[in-house]
């Protein structure tokens, strides 16, 4: 039974205007469906509903604007369906372009920050450990819960903006401490150090985690730390696309797992899985839908899901070593990192190498790549999962170094020795 406070009721009654009342009705209806006992205050919101899936979403956002809606807590925006920096990147009809543009404008009018990134946590939006927030976008949810230790559940599109307009969210799921403890222990201590030292290990780990544990919270034990945030974001993004991972712990690394006992909150694990290289090999193979024959031609490379950080751009620059790519090479990011690489001079180097920098959006959510399909290479577990369905390309997964070498040659080149 949902209990509403006097403040909640006054919002419902329109004390803060028609838009807030509408948001509150949607919030209350959803909280009832979720079986929540109450609504709670939230400190910030990350809105995923600003990605265009049809005109209806634009009309919804504009209705909130016309009713005078303004967010009550700091709110960032996920990717939109346009690259507002490079106007000619996205190929849609003028009518659709207009509806997407209107949608993005409406969310800004509601007071959301035009961050346009799926990595808001690297663009300055970093709630404190233990803080309740309402975040959308699966990779951002996983990062927020796991790496920041802030608390968000997994809500549907539109609930995010309703939470922002009211400052409230249903008290369910990962907001409750008892749902945050690990139920499964993953013993990774038997993995070779050479494997866990590689960037390309982490999306594979996430893919295995998503496919094996799904929404059940796991604690991964025995991985050498520290682990960079870029690697942790890769685990969460792959996990949240291969399965419904919303929270994971890495013992000695993530904030709610200073020890295995802490991650389990004193309980015995329901299951313990000893992770082997063979299991990871299988997960890695699952990330490729295309033939993985060395030397076969590739048609494109896409990286940056989640959006690339400045450090990842620097790594790309160093791997290129002044060489030119022979196939379209898309690098997706937000303005936070784009501004940084423009300032540092890295952008000029990447442009000269033929890298196509995409800002504000990414290649799997909106038409950017040449239609007709082909073979796409990526170092992103999330791109590998979604690209076959959304852009119609077969994919091959490899490390960033594999992607660069393949793009320079125009042919698939992967370092296989680690995975044998």
């Amino acid at each position: 039974m949902l209990h509403l406070t006097a403040d909640d009721r006054s919002l419902l009654d329109g004390a803060q205007g028609a838009a807030t009342a509408m948001a509150m009705r949607i919030l209350v209806g959803t909280a009832e469906m979720l079986g929540a006992d109450k609504l709670i205050d939230i400190a910030s919101v990350h809105v995923d509903g600003c990605l265009y899936h049809g005109d209806s979403g634009t009309l919804f956002a504009e209705k909130l604007v016309n009713a005078g809606g303004q967010v009550r807590v700091p709110t960032t925006l996920n990717v939109g369906a346009l690259d507002l920096v490079h106007g000619d990147r996205v190929k849609v009809t003028p009518a659709r372009y207009d509806m997407i543009r209107r949608m993005m404008a409406a969310y800004q009018k509601l007071g959301c920050q035009p961050s346009w990134t799926c990595a808001p946590y690297q663009a300055g939006h970093r709630p404190a450990q233990g803080q309740d927030v309402a975040w959308g976008e699966s990779n951002a949810i996983a990062f927020c819960n796991s790496v920041l230790g802030a608390r968000t559940d997994r809500y549907g599109d539109f609930l995010d903006i309703c939470a922002a307009l009211t400052g409230r969210a249903p008290h369910t799921g990962f907001h409750k401490p008892e749902n945050r403890r690990a139920r499964i222990v993953v013993d990774a201590s038997g993995l070779p150090a050479a494997l866990t030292a590689e960037d390309s290990f982490y999306p594979v780990l996430g893919t295995w985690l998503g496919a094996t544990c799904g929404a059940t919270v796991a604690a991964i034990d025995g991985l050498p730390g520290p682990i960079s945030e870029d690697r942790l974001k890769a685990v969460g993004a792959a996990g949240a696309s291969a399965g419904a991972v919303g929270l994971f712990h890495i013992v000695g690394v993530t904030p709610e797992a200073p020890s295995l006992a802490a991650a389990l909150a004193g309980h015995a694990p329901e299951q313990t899985i000893r992770l082997t290289p063979a299991m990871l090999r299988q997960a890695r193979d699952r990330l490729s839908t295309g033939a993985t024959v060395a030397g076969q031609p590739i048609d494109a490379v896409a990286i940056g899901s989640p959006h690339l950080s400045e450090a990842e751009f620097d790594a790309l620059r160093d791997l290129l070593r002044g060489r030119q790519v022979a196939v379209p090479f898309y690098a997706c990011t937000g303005r936070h990192a784009m501004t940084a690489i423009e300032r540092s001079g890295t952008r000029v180097v990447l442009d000269a190498a033929g890298i196509i920098v995409i800002a504000d959006t990414c290649v799997v959510v909106t038409p950017i790549m040449k239609p007709g399909g082909g073979l796409l290479m990526t170092n992103s577990g999330k791109f590998a999962h979604y690209a076959p369905g959304t852009v119609g390309y077969d994919v091959v997964y490899g490390s960033m170094a594999d992607c660069v070498e393949s793009a320079v040659a125009g042919r698939l080149a992967r370092e296989e020795s680690l995975w044998r």
Binding site: M22, I26, G57, K63, G156, D157
Partner: protein, 136 residues
């Protein structure tokens, strides 16, 4: 004729032929928001349209953008006539609540345990009452 009582999570009325799917479905990725067609080639019912059907499913899975797809289906007139789920899904329900706020047609959302789906035979004419009774 049989009457099966389900729990009405979002009330409304609707009638159409039953489309019963044995597998879970993700509205984002498996359903074309502009036509209602099932687009995932891995689904048995690939190519079938859910528009106007009494859609019966064990459960929904996948993306949190399911609510956006549901809203677009309702706005464009390609939604099912009613949705009967073995386990309730707040994300899809959210799409229906938003449609109601927009003044667009909505559909009933019902919860009915999977072990009682058997009588909802695929292709049979069915209607849903405000109280959540399904007549087949």
């Amino acid at each position: 004729m049989a009457v099966i009582q389900a729990r009405a999570v979002i009330t409304g009325t609707g009638a159409g032929r039953v489309l019963r799917l044995a597998q879970a479905l993700s509205f984002w990725g498996d359903v074309d928001p502009y036509t209602g067609k099932l687009t995932n080639p891995r689904q048995t019912w690939h190519g079938t349209s859910i528009a106007g059907r009494v859609l019966v499913l064990p459960e929904l899975r996948g993306s949190s953008s399911g609510s956006a797809v549901m809203l677009e289906l309702l706005a464009g007139g390609h939604a099912p006539a009613a949705l009967v789920l073995g386990r309730i899904d707040a994300i899809i329900g959210l799409g229906i609540l938003v449609a109601r706020e927009m003044g667009w047609p909505t559909i009933p959302l019902l919860e009915l345990p999977v072990d009682r789906h058997e009588r909802l035979v695929d292709g049979a004419e069915a209607s849903v009452s405000v109280e959540g009774a399904i007549t087949v």
